[in-house]
Every structure is written in structure tokens, then in C-alpha cells.
């Protein structure tokens, strides 16, 4: 089985979610497993499928700062995607090439990130369900879904931390954005730049090598049909109020 690797690309939040959905569709329709790396521009907040957007996101501040907001089709928590401060990945593949056990399948894909971090001399560990820790602090979170014979997982790897913006867009009242809270977060969350001098490009190269190790793969692009489908989904689904305010 040959994997397709779509190299680091930058889109807005709706298009990123749409391309992730299309990647899953392409596995269903033509069994092409895809690994993709991407960034969000503008920066964005993504919320889990089951979250209430008004509970999680300060929409007014997002508007003020020009930060997008999108509901994912996967569960999990709200994530601030800083356009400069992270690398996001997704994996879409036939379900039957992964263990049926959900935690074990997270362990495999998160293991690729752990291996990528090893390549830049950062010792990381997978913590079930869906986190990767360095020195006991979270550096990466992922979310998985399974549907129609397809396993789909996406996640973020923190390169830099902008906790002040993170706390202003995730729904914590202004009064609560205290020094203590940011200090607490620094004790729970970390990023690559806290542990090594590797540039973002080096981190990306390390991830590509780790994700593709032992796989038959080719560097590929989206087909014209996939891009058309994604643009339509971005506009009609992920950009719609119906989807945004689903819960």
C-alpha cells in the first residue's frame, strides 16, 4: 500500500477542516491513505465536535484579533492554532491497518510524533488517551475518529507558546487571565523551542521522516476534484453558522 504525503501547506481553518474530511473520503473511495502537514493562517481556534462554541471560545476577541474559529468533525477539546507556533498533521487510512483498540491506534500515530521529537533530541512519551508529554508537560494533542472503514486522526505539535493570546481567545474571562493562571499553564504545557534550538523547518523534516519511516510513500498533492470538494465543504459546511453553532 502506497501512502500519499501532502507536504506542509497553509490554509484557513475552514479549508483545513474540509481538506481533512476530503482526505478521509479519498480513503473511502479509492483507498489512498494520506498523511498531511499543515498550518492555519490566520491563526484559529478549533473546537471539538461535541463542544458548545459559546462555552469554549471568546468570539468577540477572536473577531477583534482576526482569529478564525471552526468546529472539528472530531471530538476532544478546544485548541488554539497559532499560525507561527505549531505544526498540525493529519492521517487518514483504512481502519483495518490499525489496531481495533482505540488507545493502541493513538499510540501508533502518536508514536510517530514521539519518534520525530527523538530525531531533534527531545525525549517525549505518549500519555493515553491522546497526549504527548515532554518532562511531564503536554507538547502535543490529537483527536481521532473512525467512520465507514476509515481511521482519521489529526493533532497539533507545539513549536512556540503564546499563552496570552491562547487564554484571551479560549473562553476564560478577562478577570481570570491572571499571572498565576499563565504560570500554571506554563507548568502543564510546553513547546519545542523550550527544549531545543531546532528551527520549525528542521522539526517538520524530522516529522516527515518519522511519519514515513518503513512506509512505501510518495510526495503527492490534492487532485483537482479533491480541491473542488474541499472548497465546497469549507464554504457550505465548515463556514456555515449551522455547523459552527451545532452545539
Amino acid at each position: 500500500m502506497k501512502w500519499r504525503v501532502v507536504e506542509l501547506e497553509t490554509y484557513d481553518a475552514c479549508m483545513n477542516m474540509a481538506l481533512d474530511e476530503v482526505a478521509g473520503e479519498s480513503v473511502r473511495n479509492s483507498s489512498i491513505p494520506t498523511i498531511r502537514f499543515y498550518n492555519y493562517k490566520p491563526s484559529a481556534v478549533s473546537i471539538g465536535y461535541f463542544q458548545g462554541i459559546r462555552d469554549e471560545v471568546n468570539l468577540e476577541i477572536c473577531r477583534e484579533l482576526g482569529i478564525d474559529c471552526v468546529r472539528r468533525f472530531t471530538g476532544g477539546g478546544a485548541v488554539f492554532h497559532d499560525c507561527e507556533g505549531e505544526i498540525t498533521y493529519s492521517v487518514a487510512a483504512p481502519l483495518n491497518i490499525f489496531p481495533k483498540n482505540i488507545i493502541e491506534s493513538y499510540r501508533i500515530i502518536c508514536g510517530w510524533i514521539v519518534s520525530g521529537l527523538e530525531r531533534i533530541d527531545i525525549k517525549a512519551e505518549f500519555r493515553p488517551v491522546n497526549d504527548i508529554l515532554v518532562g511531564g508537560k503536554k507538547i502535543s494533542g490529537s483527536a481521532q475518529t473512525r467512520r465507514g472503514g476509515v481511521l482519521f486522526q489529526h493533532g497539533t505539535l507545539l513549536y512556540n507558546l503564546d499563552l496570552e493570546t491562547m487564554f484571551s481567545v479560549l473562553n476564560v474571562s478577562r478577570q481570570k487571565i491572571s499571572g498565576k493562571m499563565i504560570k500554571d499553564a506554563r507548568e502543564r504545557v510546553t513547546c519545542i523551542s523550550n527544549h531545543c534550538d531546532a528551527g520549525k523547518e528542521d522539526v517538520y523534516e524530522a516529522l516527515v521522516r518519522a511519519f514515513t519511516k518503513g512506509k512505501d510513500f510518495e510526495i503527492g498533492t490534492w487532485s483537482r476534484d479533491e480541491l473542488t470538494m474541499a472548497r465546497e465543504l469549507a464554504l457550505k459546511k465548515y463556514g456555515s453558522d449551522e455547523w459552527m453553532y451545532l452545539r
Binding site: 461535541f50 458548545g52 471530538g75 482505540i102 475518529t145 473512525r146 452545539r247
Partner: protein
Amino acid sequence: MIACAKQKVREGKLVKVEIEYDESIKKLKITGDFFMYPEDALERIEKTIVGLKKDAGMETIASKIRSIVEIEDVQMIGISAESLARVIREALG
């Protein structure tokens, strides 16, 4: 009566329940940072709770949820039928 309850449940994720009821449950919304496959099963879980008496016990609520979980082979991560039932029961007072 409209009520709300929020708990970090035993399995690790946060569950929030907003519920509208008089003698029976009229409306229910479950939100949180948990995982459930297929995702749209949550709507069916919410629907199956609507109509239950407001004093329905934990076990009654949990068995309603389990029935959807079993029929649809729903997989839950970070929550369980029992935890969901506990938060719903707490919201009902």
C-alpha cells in the same frame, strides 16, 4: 425548569448537561471534550432521554443510554453511559 450540571467525569473528560424539564424531560443538550464514534450517536442518546420522568433514577437513564450504545456499537472515550447518566441526574437535582 431549566438546569445545568458540569462534571469532569471518572473516565477523564468534561461533560456538561443542559436540561429543560417539568414533570418529564423536555429537552437535553450534552456537550464536552470527550470522544464518541459515530459522533452523531450523541443526538440519538439525547433523544432517548427526552420523555423520561424528572425523577428517573441513575440506572434507568444509564440503561437508556446503553441501549443506543449497544444497538449502534457506539464507542466512547473519556466518558461512559454511567458517567453521562450521573451528570444528567445531577442536573435534574
